[in-house]
């Protein structure tokens, strides 16, 4: 499964910038970034070209960081492309903890998500004719 790097960040001026600088200095490239924020802290989730190295660099710089297995599905960039997938998950009783998308080429979108259980995902994705991505596909 693809690895996501999750970083705990306090809501503090310049904290996200300094995280990005740490990655840049370690020569790590980011493909996707999303930040979930609460009143006092944020959780940054990112996809990078070298997840293990990213974790190491961030830990060394004093960040709380986690390497997390997530699911990645390539879906068509059309109205309802995501809806049918999520409806199928819903019917199968699969709950998403969180999800985010980013564009991939002209007509494709990649959706990243985390679920409590992963069994059943591959079958649903197959049935819809979508593609489940592996680490090296990202």
């Amino acid at each position: 499964m693809p690895h996501q790097v999750t970083v705990f960040l306090e809501n503090e001026k310049g904290r996200l910038a300094s995280m990005c600088r740490t990655l840049a200095d370690a020569n790590i490239n980011m493909n996707a970034l999303t930040v979930a924020d609460t009143a006092s802290y944020g959780v940054a989730r990112l996809l990078v070209d070298q997840p293990e190295q990213a974790c190491e660099a961030l830990s060394k710089a004093g960040y709380r960081v986690r390497l997390v297995d997530v699911s990645a599905v390539e879906i068509p960039n059309v109205p309802g492309g995501l809806a049918v997938l999520l409806e199928a998950f819903d019917d199968a009783g699969l709950n998403l903890e969180y999800a985010y998308c980013f564009g991939s080429g002209e007509d494709k979108v990649v959706v990243i998500f985390r679920t409590e259980v992963v069994e059943g995902i591959a079958g649903i994705v197959d049935r819809l004719g979508y593609r489940l991505l592996k680490s090296n596909d990202l």
Partner: protein
């Protein structure tokens, strides 16, 4: 009661002969009471018998107040170890009229028993405070200290009874109702914690009252927590009162061990009931009058729970010289700190180590923590910063939220304090080589 006008104030006394006693006579009175107290302790409390035997002091060696320094000390831990009744000089089933206990958030509570005489003496001490602010039997005393095991409410209540004043036993809380009754019943004197007095003032103003004009209140007797001169001014201006500091601790008696008069320059110690010593906390030798040290009390009249040289851990000093009010009872300064790291949060005594113990049960967090105290709307607010262990899966935000809530719940049940728990980055909690700075107190007390 007439609102006092400057210059025209006539000092009032509750027990003038005792409060203005000649120093020699007072020392003789203290000596006699000390001899009786020591005899009582030695005969009836095994702890004291052992402590005195261990240092080779017999009751007969104590002949006057000059011999006080020969007696053993008592600590908070001794009182905890004695839980519940081992430091009682009389059988709890017989003449003990009432029991009070400290908040007891670290280990056992400290329990004190009171005979009817003890309660009457306590009431007398508090009644002096009522006279010290200009009150008397005609006063309406609104008590907004909590009633219960905590000595604040019932201590003030006994004072009102002994004075013969009219008591309005509000207890704490129900602030709008406090304000309405203060107005409708024409309360003269308010007794509560200083922070609650400010909340009452602010609530009254919010309800559209102008307290100095609309209320009959002339004085406030405030204690049980530290407060600043700035806070005093604010309370006095907002409520239109003279606000005095009252001191006491449940181990020794409760509020009334000492209290300011209207001169507001030190708290007159009820020296006919308690001997005060100010000692260097390291050497345990007396410091000269005027110098800061640890406050140590010996009770002189308590029947059920007498204490020999109880180390309060409070830091204060004796204010030398005579007071303009005419009382000869010596004055201690307002407490300026603690020799330990105890915090008083909304009147509850809490040690930082208790936070540490509480979080130790959570494998999700490290043992680094920081306590931040602030004041909001006159109430103490507590934030506890913790950091998660590297293994903690914070990728799901609800796990962070749940962790914060569970820790807050544990603190609430073990410390009786509402705490906002924040998970922070490791860098946010100061690391130090020596003693970490665990508490950041921004309350400006």
């Amino acid at each position: 009661m007439q609102k006092p006008t400057p210059g025209a104030y006539q000092e009032r006394f509750y027990q003038k002969e005792l409060e203005t006693m000649d120093r020699e006579a007072l020392l003789a009175l203290q000596g006699g009471c000390l001899v009786a107290t020591v005899a009582n302790c030695y005969a009836n409390i095994p702890f004291y018998r052992q402590a005195m035997d261990a240092i080779g002091v017999l009751p007969g060696d104590i002949k006057s107040i000059e011999d006080l320094h020969r007696l053993p000390f008592t600590t908070k831990q001794d009182m905890r170890n004695a839980y519940p009744f081992d430091l009682f000089a009389i059988n709890v089933k017989h003449e003990v009229q009432r029991l009070h206990a400290s908040s007891g958030t670290t280990g056992n509570a400290t329990v004190c028993g009171y005979t009817q005489n003890d309660i009457d003496n306590w009431g007398d001490c508090f009644a002096r405070s009522i006279a010290q602010v200009g009150g008397g039997s005609e006063s309406i005393l609104q008590i907004a200290y909590g009633y219960g095991l905590f000595t604040g409410g019932l201590g003030a209540h006994e004072g009102g009874i002994r004075m013969g004043a009219t008591i309005l036993p509000m207890s704490s809380g129900n602030t709008r109702r406090q304000v309405q009754m203060m107005k409708d019943f024409s309360s003269d004197i308010l007794a509560c914690t200083p922070s609650y007095a400010l909340l009452i003032a602010d609530t009254a103003i919010e309800m559209g009252f102008d307290p100095p004009k609309d209320f009959n209140l002339s004085a406030a007797i405030l204690g049980a927590e530290p407060w600043s001169q700035g806070m005093r001014q604010e309370i006095e201006e907002k409520l239109g009162v003279v606000a005095v500091d009252i001191y006491g601790l449940s181990e020794v008696m409760g509020p009334g061990v000492s209290c300011e008069c209207r001169a507001q320059n030190g708290l007159h110690v009820a020296e006919d009931h308690f001997v005060i010593e100010i000692l260097n906390p390291e050497t345990l030798k007396p410091v000269p009058d005027g110098e800061l040290g640890e406050v140590v009390f010996t009770t002189l009249t308590k029947e059920c729970s007498p204490l020999l040289r109880y180390r309060t851990r409070d830091i204060s000093r004796i204010i030398p010289g005579e007071c303009s009010c005419g009382r000869t009872l010596r004055r201690m300064d307002r407490v300026s700190g603690r020799t330990d790291d105890m915090l008083i949060i909304r009147g509850v005594n809490v040690f930082p180590s208790q936070f540490q113990q509480a979080i130790a049960d959570f494998a999700e967090v490290t043992n680094h923590y920081e306590i931040i105290l602030t004041r909001k709307d006159q109430l103490d607010m507590v934030e506890l910063k913790v950091e998660t262990v590297p293994e903690f899966d914070f990728d799901e935000i609800r796990k962070i939220e749940s962790l914060q809530q569970r820790i807050a719940g544990e603190l609430k049940s073990s410390l009786q304090v509402n705490v906002r728990v924040s998970v922070v980055e490791p860098k946010s909690i100061e690391r130090s080589m020596g003693k970490a700075r665990r508490v950041i107190d921004m309350r400006q007390l």
